[in-house]
């Protein structure tokens, strides 16, 4: 408890956020994304969840890049953003094909991959 108060005072005095704060936000976003992947049956919403998780990973990369400080983290984040764009394009194409085959975007209805 005392340690917590000390830490709170220290951060209050500095009035600046630390690496751990960004990491905690990142963990919260990952947890929300996993919740969406587990619960949602709508294929587009599952894609949303994947995007949220990918963004949390980018946030972690940039936060460590700032803390170290090292430019490689930001370079990786740039690569990751570009690859995520390609992934979304292919994912949406797959969803449109599945919708055309089944007239439905509920993943539980995609029982077989045959048309």
């Amino acid at each position: 408890m005392r340690r917590l108060r000390l830490r709170a005072e220290r951060t209050w005095n500095n009035n600046m956020s630390e690496l751990i704060d960004f990491l905690i936000v990142s963990i919260v976003l990952v947890a929300i994304g996993i919740y969406g992947l587990v619960v949602k049956r709508n294929a587009i919403r599952m894609l949303f969840s994947i995007e949220i998780i990918a963004n949390a990973a980018n946030l972690t990369l940039v936060a460590f890049s700032r803390g170290l400080p090292n430019a490689q983290g930001q370079t990786f984040a740039l690569f990751s953003i570009a690859i995520a764009a390609a992934e979304v394009a292919v994912g949406l194409g797959l969803i449109i094909v599945a919708y055309r085959l089944y007239k439905e975007i509920d993943v539980a209805e995609f029982r077989s991959l045959r048309s």
Binding site: S17, I32, V38, A82
Partner: protein, 174 residues
């Protein structure tokens, strides 16, 4: 924890992420997802990475959000309103989310990372000239492969979304 701008951006990002998954209409969810991406870009600005933040806005808010909104409009609206989640699955999902948050949060706070890097105010920032140099020298092969991957993904998406029945009709009409 004390920076009010940080707390505001965190609330915006996490709240928009929850709305993106829970909004009744998918199109509002897509807009909320774009707002969440903007919040992540705000975090990048707070972390003194303006180049990555601009890239994030250009790619996610500019391209991905628009792509998702177009897909939502292409898919029949009636299919979007069927919410067939069972309550048990949903409560299990929420429990899993809370367990992940609590366990990983406790792990992070207990780890040596807490206070190791101090606060960011005093440490030097990463210059974006350095990022450009890294991308074009050491990571140049990765950049080329990424370009090929993007081109392949675009071609694959076009090939997937092509409608053969419509094309055959056109050929017959010709």
């Amino acid at each position: 924890m004390a920076d009010p701008i940080f707390i505001a951006v965190a609330v915006l990002t996490v709240g928009a992420a929850i709305i993106a998954l829970e909004a009744r209409e998918l199109i509002y969810g897509a807009v909320a997802l774009a707002i969440s991406m903007l919040g992540i870009a705000g975090f990048f600005l707070l972390l003194d990475a303006p180049f990555v933040a601009m890239f994030q806005i250009a790619v996610y808010v500019g391209a991905v959000a628009v792509l998702i909104i177009f897909t939502v409009m292409l898919v029949r609206t009636q299919a979007l309103f069927t919410t067939k989640e069972d309550k048990k699955r949903k409560s299990a999902g929420i429990a899993l989310m809370l367990i992940i948050m609590a366990s990983f949060g406790a792990l992070l706070i207990a780890s040596g990372l807490n206070g190791q890097f101090g606060n960011f105010a005093g440490s030097p920032t990463v210059n974006f000239k350095e990022i450009g140099k890294l991308m074009l020298t050491y990571y140049a092969p990765a950049l080329i492969i990424m370009g090929l991957t993007l081109a392949g993904a675009v071609i694959a998406a076009l090939a997937l979304a092509r409608r053969e029945d419509v094309e055959q009709q056109h050929e017959r009409a010709d």
